[in-house]
Point group: C2
Chain length 510, copies 2
């Protein structure tokens, strides 16, 4: 008996959609490929924004806002960049509608001379501004961030994971040289690790993307890779050292201390609403989402067991006072977020709504609790004892004192569980191509958790790398990244038998 | 001698552009009609968002996010609404670019079957969701808010005041009946008054818009009107009671307690980045912006008078410690926001940068201040004594203790100044059309501060109202609103000589 109609084991993709729907996170919109983010989903994103934004500011970045629409000609400047994005962009061609033959249509007289593109990412328009703002080495580093909606025309969409429009932050910086730009690239990666691991409780492996998986126009791309409960990988964020490619295309030059003109070195890095999808697939269970307390818009939800009787008033007051007391406490570095659910609905429906949304602690307070000065609560990460829902009753004063530690314990528990799963599901013993083929090629049962493999390779390039990618693709595998932490010596390359120079992670991925 | 090259008296519109530019608030972007919001401008907007969002949540609204793009057909549903917006919308017609004859162009094979519109406002797509979400009276009221970018194709743009793309919040709610929806409409207006007056220090007059100035599709529209230093009015926010118009067009119905189906009554209300423009024109002076402390991203900026010598280290430490001490204090309901400007630039350039940006208090700390344990500061609202910049030195401990009261005093001072100006510039004695014509018709000198007039009218409708509007237009005047606070009796209508039934404000406006 579970709160969702489909379990992870039965059908992981269906289960994912069920969580998104039943936890009130988002739904499909009438606009193709775009979603409506509902209150609880938006609350999660806003928590993410608050935590990410604080870290981005604390490391010397300032928020700017650039136009949604980018002139088409801007994309023609950086060849690789346009190649990477041109295939999936929304194009604005008219600026007015008109009734024609009784039908509302784009007005032919209002066609734009130059079409405008809805930003798929903002390197081009921000680079253009950099070229105007940067004159001297004194203007560097220039470190900015933008919170924005972006759009990429995706053929197959899945809520949060891949939608045509999504919300994100994009950092863009310019530096005097490679060393400074690389330091920034790695700083962004560490900011991401901190939010994803410490706030979202998702363990990740940081590493460098292979040559053919780089951001279009980047010199080096780094990623955070997270493991979902079905063993697949999800890229949880990327940070790019762009070298001087964009600086050349857009003429971002500065006068150095000796008066000579130099090209700036730029970086860009982004994280998006995709991470909400990752959080669902890492922490969800067959009863819905389990929200890490640091991410939960409401950490403690108090449901008064109202019965439409005069005692209700007293009960509501008891609950309100409890919430007020809890909100004075501190947990996970911030004020506790407790509130009373006074919606006009059955208490038992409310309980299950909050279970599916994954509120970390759900208090169900009846008249007897109020009379005895106690609190009866459910812990979302210890929902059941056998088949039965497990409720605990404690004295109210004790509950208030213990709540912060309880929340912090849940946060740790979720991270530990996910880390144990990550560690247990990376094979380090598949050191020949045959072994890889035998393991990943056996059967094609999607419900089978196959996890990742860490293998040595000779870091092929160009066509050799393409051939490796093709071989992996036949097994539905992709190269995730070359982890930053590498051993001192390497097995031979699983693809070529040549001496290994690096270890990489291979996995099926979202 | 002033920090800006142009004064308000010389050329108010030019002065406005100078503040936007010199205070580092925003600049024109290469995308026609769109601006780039820079760090200080974005910081102001983020302060606004924080204050507005807190009040919107505290009154029972939840944040959602709806798609940027709305299918064209949605606009055909509400006739008045499409009439009001169809003329100025950005239309997406293609979803891919292609190299054609060596030129990047919209791919003819990727034309959308139905064009998509960049939202000018979201009533249509949110109404569509309401029709799916609302089934019973138990689902009402449904109160949501969205922070988003929207787009209206404006022919003449001016930074912050009128840009093609702008940032805003839009509240959308549904209710069982008119009474509940009207209560919400007025609640939104009060939320706006609170932020605009108490945070932005801009006094406003609340009132109802005339019939022909209503939001397209609204039953009643209310506005906040603020007076700029040139005497013109700026609409600082609007709140609409939409009646059942959108509910009918989009089939938003609920089952009432007796089981009968009823149309919901909806509201919508919005405030935008336009308000930043208003703040500039209310509080700016010939030295740049004067930022109300409640809005200032940095309330106290500390500039160390560095000289590239060994003593610099000690000086920086003194400044950092001062900032840390200040940040522990509370002012205007939040922690004080103080920080040290360590940028590599001349201290005197930094001073003037912060003067132009309007940081409320600028501390200039030299080695002697550090040695004597004192703080030398400039108060932005008392910048000069005669021709000279006025600096005050006090013991550091005293400064830290007094800073909160100083900030609160500046906040009050700015509000009081603006309120006195508003009150002094509303004529209540122009009670005939001749008097109006004589006053507003005299000369056409834009630099002349003419202010507003409060006049009685008979509240004409339809063609009669159009004729009134035309007469006002000849004097460049518009009807702002009918203030909520009305006298007990009225003079005769200035337009028709009929008995007056209401007083309205007329003014030139942005």
């Amino acid at each position: 008996m579970h709160a969702l109609k489909v379990t992870r084991a039965e059908d992981f993709p269906e289960w994912y959609q069920a969580v998104v729907r039943e936890a009130d996170l988002a739904e499909q919109s009438p606009t193709r490929g775009c979603m409506i983010i509902k209150a609880w989903g938006m609350g999660l994103w806003e928590r993410f924004v608050a935590e990410m934004d604080a870290r981005i500011r604390a490391t010397g970045h300032e928020n700017y806002y650039f136009p949604l629409l980018i002139p088409l000609s801007f994309f023609a400047k950086e060849a690789e960049h346009v190649e990477g994005f041109a295939k999936e962009m929304a194009v604005v061609t008219h600026h007015r509608l008109k009734q024609i033959d009784n039908e509302l249509k784009p007005d032919p007289d209002a066609e734009l001379t130059e079409p405008l593109i809805i930003r798929p990412t903002s390197e081009t328009i921000i680079g253009d501004a950099f070229s105007r703002w940067i004159k001297s080495y004194r203007d560097l580093p220039l470190k900015l961030n933008q919170w924005a909606n972006v759009m990429r025309w995706e053929m197959r969409t899945r809520m949060f994971l891949r939608t045509a429009e999504f919300l994100w932050q994009e950092g863009h910086t310019a530096h005097v040289d490679e060393a400074d730009a690389m330091e920034e690239t790695m700083l962004a990666l560490e900011i991401y690790r901190s939010v994803v691991e410490d706030v979202m409780a998702i363990p990740v492996i940081l590493g460098e993307k292979s040559e053919n998986e780089r951001f279009p126009g980047a010199e080096r791309t780094y990623s955070l890779e997270a493991m979902m409960q079905d063993g697949k990988a999800l890229q949880a964020g990327t940070s790019h050292y762009l070298g001087t490619h964009f600086a050349e295309a857009q003429n971002i030059r500065y006068q150095d201390k000796d008066g000579a003109m130099q090209l700036a070195h730029t970086t860009s890095w982004g994280t998006s609403t995709r991470l909400i999808g990752g959080m669902i697939m890492v922490h969800g269970d067959d009863d819905g989402l389990r929200t890490p307390p640091a991410m939960a818009p409401k950490q403690i939800v108090i449901v008064p067991m109202l019965r439409g009787k005069p005692e209700d008033t007293e009960l509501k007051e008891y609950c309100a006072a409890l919430a007020a007391e809890l909100n004075k406490k501190t947990a996970l570095g911030g004020a506790v977020r407790a509130s009373v659910d006074v919606k006009d609905a059955k208490p038992t429906d409310k309980r299950w709504d909050w279970v599916r949304r994954g509120a970390p602690i759900i208090c169900e307070i009846g008249p007897r609790d109020a009379a005895n000065g106690q609190v009866t609560f459910i812990q979302r990460t210890a929902l059941r004892e056998g088949e039965k829902v497990k409720s605990t009753s404690v004295a109210r004063a004790d509950f208030v004192v213990q709540a912060p530690a309880l929340l912090e314990g849940i946060q740790q528990q979720l991270f530990d569980e996910a880390r144990a799963r990550l560690e247990a599901n990376i094979r380090a013993d598949l050191n020949t191509w045959d072994a890889i083929e035998a393991y990943y090629g056996a059967g094609d049962d999607e419900s089978d958790v196959k996890g990742w493999a860490r293998v040595a390779w000779s870091r092929p390039s160009g066509d050799d790398l393409e051939r490796v990618t093709e071989r992996l693709k036949a097994l539905k595998l992709t190269i995730r990244n070359a982890p930053l932490q590498q051993p001192a010596s390497f097995d031979q390359c699983v693809f070529s038998g040549k001496p290994g120079v690096e270890e990489i992670l291979i996995a099926r991925a979202y």
